[in-house]
Amino acid sequence: MDCQLDIFFLEAVLNGLLLGGLLALLALGLNLIFGVIDVVWICYAELVMVGMYGIYYAEKSGVPFLAAALFGILLIALAGVILHYLVIRPVLDSAPINQLLVTGGVLFVLQAAATMAFGIDFKNIGIRLGSVNVFDMSFSYARIVTFGVAIATMLVLWVFLQRSYIGIAIRAIAQDRAIMPLMGVDQRKVYLVTSGIGGALAGLAACLMVLQFDIYPQIGLQFGPLIFMICVLGGLGNMIGGFIAAFIISEFIAVGGSCFATEWGYAIAFLFFMVVIFIRPQGLLGGKS
């Protein structure tokens, strides 16, 4: 419990900031999908996990890392489209909770499939980027790269949603599901494109995560709850809210984890989340219910 305002505290705060970039990227895809299709992919973190395995094996088979990363992004984008087509579309009109549960089934399937195909042992891609030392603080390049790519991706997505035709259609559908089809927007196409983008974002997150974390079939359970918490905290479907919430939560995890133990960092974050939701059930920035 050595929680002093020293250089290690600052290191924890800055590392929390770097983690926040990754969490913000993870939350972004989920928020995009919820905002447009009104469905929560409970299996989102499991898609990331599959992407990590995809990149790992692509890289191990001799493909350069960047190509493997591209492969991972495309793979998960495709997985997102397939998920929407096979699983989400049949339940689009049923109770919201069924949509949640059906992706819960996908979670089981993906996790079990990964266990069967890749085994339960931890795998590490073995790419070391080294770290940079500032004063007595050390930051790994992997985290800094992750942060940079995450922020850049969010800016690109932002411009895409603001400027391109399909981006505007996506935002329009998110605002009014009933009217847009009448205005000549093909709703099903927008849903598929959104699922693809959401999947690609999960794939991108996977590329960044293989540089930092070991890969194992249950890694989704470690990140999944965090991502949902961030999305709800920021207001489901609200991308800016999710962005801010990601940094709040990551600071709780990093600082709490450095002051106490890792689990307590997470536990405090979850407690904070529950308290905030009771005060502002629509999330920090949530407007629409």
């Binding site: 919820f34 929560v40 699983v87 049949p90 339940v91 049923s94 109770a95 919201p96 909770i97 069924n98 949640l100 549960l101 059906v102 819960g104 089934g105 996908v106 979670l107 089981f108 399937v109 993906l110 996790q111 079990a112 499939a113 266990t115 069967m116 195909a117 890749f118 085994g119 339960i120 079939p217 359970l221 999944g224 709850p225 949902f228 918490m229 999305c231 709800v232 489901l236 133990a261 689990e263 307590w264 997470y266 536990a267 979850f270 407690l271 989340f273 529950m274 939701i277 009771f278 059930p281």
Partner: protein, 355 residues
């Protein structure tokens, strides 16, 4: 007409219960070689059926909670920790754990229901509760053994009324589980016959309309939450006493919560024996798969360690298929089909409630 139906139904229940009570006898004479194994499966089914029934009390009214792993965890760990570190018998430990679980349930429930957190938000919030409890269990590793789990300290030869430890005597354990299950069904039936049920059903369809006819929606939801949390805590505690081992992944956490939800959906959320059918279905499925994988050399060679994940895989696939094609579950669909047939045949339709 009606009294007769009720009598016939009661008779069927009595016969069914008597048959279940005689099961250990049948196993002793029929399958003596693996008596312990068959009883173990039955006990597992009954204990989980009790927990699932507790969950379905909320689930059937649209309160789809992913947080019941928290309550089973509090029940199991509360009782074991009190026993191991304070020497408090489970006879006191279980009520204490139940009170704690109910308080947690109400603390989380009250703001949820006041602020009308439903659907996605409710599910994700309760998911956070599960994770919070699991992380606390792992974090308190000096007492709970962390992610490795812990065991209740054995008392004497392992069979003791005072310590509530019966595990070596499987027949006795079976009757305890059976009694618990019957109590669970009784609670379900009482809820089903109460005014609360109508109030909650109305609230689950339209909260404003329900409130406008004078239903105190928050109060009703809190009531059912308390009952449901208490049942899951008792279930978790008794499960711990039977298994004599608890771990954060076996009695708490997201995995347990999702298993509960899946089993109830598979069995049927809206009928009395639905959760029980779900328990039978899931336990038999995983047990059959486990045995057939172990006995099949080709499967083991092909899948290796991953074979253990096969049942999870099939769970997941079935969950998807159930939600898409059979949202009422196995028993719900069967009963609906029978009812339709009865109605079509022109005989008096069976009462819609309680079966």
């Amino acid at each position: 007409m009606k009294p007769q139906i009720v009598t016939r139904r009661w008779l069927a229940w009595l016969v069914g219960l008597a048959a279940l009570a005689l099961v250990p006898l049948g196993i002793r004479y029929g399958f003596a070689s693996s008596e312990k194994y068959y009883l173990h499966i039955l006990i597992q089914i009954l204990l989980w059926a009790f927990i699932y029934t507790g969950w379905s009390l909320m689930g059937r009214f649209g309160l789809t909670s992913f947080g019941h792993g928290a309550f089973t965890g509090i029940g199991a760990y509360g009782v074991v920790l009190l026993w191991n570190y304070a020497g408090i018998t489970p006879w006191i430990g279980i009520p204490v754990a139940v009170v704690v679980a109910v308080i947690v349930g109400l603390l989380v429930g009250y703001p949820c229901f006041r602020l009308r957190i439903v659907g996605h938000y409710f599910a994700l919030l309760t998911l956070a509760l599960t994770e919070f409890v699991r992380l606390c269990i792992v974090g308190l590793r000096d007492y709970t053994g962390g992610s490795l789990g812990t065991q209740p300290a054995r008392y004497g030869n392992g069979i003791s009324l005072y310590a509530m430890q019966f595990e070596p005597d499987r027949v006795l354990s079976y009757y305890i589980a059976l009694a618990l299950w019957v109590v669970g069904l009784y609670v379900w039936w009482r809820v089903d016959r109460s005014m609360d049920r109508y109030a909650l059903q109305a609230a689950s369809q339209d909260e404003d309309a329900a409130a406008s006819v004078g239903i105190d929606v928050t109060r009703e939801k809190l009531k059912i939450t308390a009952i449901s949390a208490a049942m899951c805590a008792v279930g978790g505690a008794v499960y711990a006493q039977y298994q004599m081992y608890i771990g954060p992944e076996t009695v708490a956490g997201l995995g347990v919560s999702l298993n509960i939800v899946f089993a109830v959906i598979a069995g049927g959320m809206w009928v009395m024996l639905g959760p029980t059918v779900g328990a039978v279905f899931t336990q038999l499925l995983s047990e059959t798969l486990r045995v057939s994988i172990q006995s099949s050399a080709t499967l083991t060679a092909w899948l290796g360690n991953g074979a253990l994940a096969l049942d999870t895989m099939i769970y997941g696939l079935l969950l998807i298929l159930f939600i898409i094609y059979m949202p009422k579950g196995i028993l719900g669909t069967l009963l609906e089909r029978r009812e339709r047939k009865v109605t079509a045949a022109g005989t008096s339709p069976a009462p819609a409630v309680s079966r």
